[in-house]
């Protein structure tokens, strides 16, 4: 089973990210959970959202403490929130940033795999807004293979309607532009 924690801010659509990923995984015939941090949400305040993906039924319903994958939607959260908290040593950290993986590794003192992409730039160019929730899905797929890119098509179309094409384009760009780095 793969556990994922997403970091974003209220209003940045982290909950939509976990929804899209869960729906795509289920579309593939897998089992998945997608859920927010339970409780109130404030626009602009740091928040987390979660996924579990598995080949058979998922029974555990407690919180996720030791994720395999952490995704950071907002570069401003690095240094503000300990995004690497509990991340498995062999886990993958996927960050929207203009910094290099080495810099991120140093700041967070995380020695595992790091994937970086300037998702804000991609989102601005493709969507006209710095909302990176769908864009970062592309980076996650490339870095982890947790789902297939094509599996997102149906959920993205269902969720975004006429804006689906632009979101798909943005996430495909992130898929192609993400840089993988293993510090060790």
């Amino acid at each position: 089973m793969i556990e994922i924690r997403w970091h974003g801010r209220g209003g940045q659509g982290a909950v939509t990210s976990v929804e899209m990923l869960a729906l795509a995984a289920i579309e593939e015939g897998k089992y998945a959970q997608g859920f927010p941090s339970f409780g109130p949400e404030r626009r602009g305040a740091p928040l987390a959202a979660f996924n579990r993906v598995n080949t058979h039924q998922i029974k555990v319903r407690s919180n996720i403490y030791n994720p395999d994958i952490v995704v950071v939607l907002d570069p401003g959260l690095i240094g503000l929130v300990n995004v690497a908290d509990g991340l498995k040593a062999k886990g993958i950290l996927i960050v929207n940033t203009t910094k290099t993986a080495e810099e991120i590794s140093r700041i967070l003192n995380f020695k595992g795999k790091i994937a970086t992409v300037d998702a804000t730039k991609i989102a601005r160019e493709e969507l006209g807004a710095p909302i990176t929730n769908t864009t970062m899905l592309g980076a996650v797929i490339k870095a982890t293979g947790v789902i297939k890119l094509d599996s997102l098509k149906v959920p993205i179309e269902h969720r975004f309607g006429k804006l689906a094409g632009r979101n798909m384009k943005a996430l495909k760009r992130a898929y192609n532009e993400v840089k993988m780095s293993n510090i060790n």
């Binding site: 995984a25 997608g34 859920f35 927010p36 339970f38 409780g39 998922i58």
Partner: protein
Amino acid sequence: MAKRVGMEVAIAAAEAVALCRIDVAAVYPITPNTHIAEHLAEIVADGKLDAEYITVESEHSSISACCGASGAGARAYTATSSQGLMLMHEILPIVSAMRLPVVMGLANRAVSGPLNIWNDHSDIMPQRDSGWISFFAENGQEAVDMSIQSFRIAEDPEVMLPIVLNIDGFQLTHMIEALELPSQKEVDRYLPPFRPLATLHPDKPVSMGAYAFPDIFTEVMKVKDSVLIDSKKTILKAWDEWGKQFGRWYKPVETYKADGAEVLIMTMGSMGETASIAVDELRAKGVPAGLVKLRLWRPFPFEEFREAIKGAKVLIVCDRAVSFGGPGGPVAAEVKSALYNDAGRPAVLNFLIGLGGRDVTVENFKDILEKGVQAINKKPAGGYIFYGVRE
């Protein structure tokens, strides 16, 4: 069999209710029931369901509106959580006394104070004696299935009682997961139209819920009690037919690896699945642990419960509400009372867990089960334990 789809459980519950072709919904949104309220409103507003969605000003009004609508012969649904249910409390025993088959989806949440919006069972427990049938769903699929089953059971002429379906707030309502949504055709096959025995109509006036003097009130209470107890027969029949049609089987008390178990842990609602992983891990180490899940809270399934726990030396009861100054959590108190006259009864350990959204992990359940194992040879002190409390 229907394809598995990914859906938030609250949305799926609303979809299931819409598939029941309800006539009236009166829901006042309150966290964490909100998505049920919103999605049902959306379905009605989009013209996908020919129903009246009554936008009420409080939960007291939503249950009252359902009461009136049901009396007029409408299939009526409401949903709420926590304080909303507390505000409905006054009306709940009236609905059951009037034999109105209203169905309620309860997104369980802690009751204030202090204010807490997270999940536990302190909202449903004070409603225990309201004369309603009370079910607990363990996952999204059960929330869907039991929403549909509820209308059929409630409206059966042998029953004619309201039903509250407990769906853990957040842990279930806010979870996107894989589930099967039956088709309209399948639901229509399972659920016949509501045919009330009597309805309110200006052309044919009747009184419902009138006055009862001391010379008749006791008899009315006896009838209410008997009807609730007897409803189990219809519940079992409805679950059996559900199993035959959909291949998913429901029992008043579910067991997991309980055969030969010396230590049993008992849960209600969404925590059963997490606890089952702890049972798996202990069984793998040779510990005779098992799980009992109480699905039917009212009428209490005494017979099935005794059968499920037969042979166990220790029964751990997990309560998710506090009965302040009482004999233990409300579920443990009932369990002990049910077992009092049984010669071979197990020792009962009572843990209060998951209060106000406190996370309970697989490790926690393993720890609780280990405590149960220790109690096999050393009789527990009795009372109850606030699990993991910081003092």
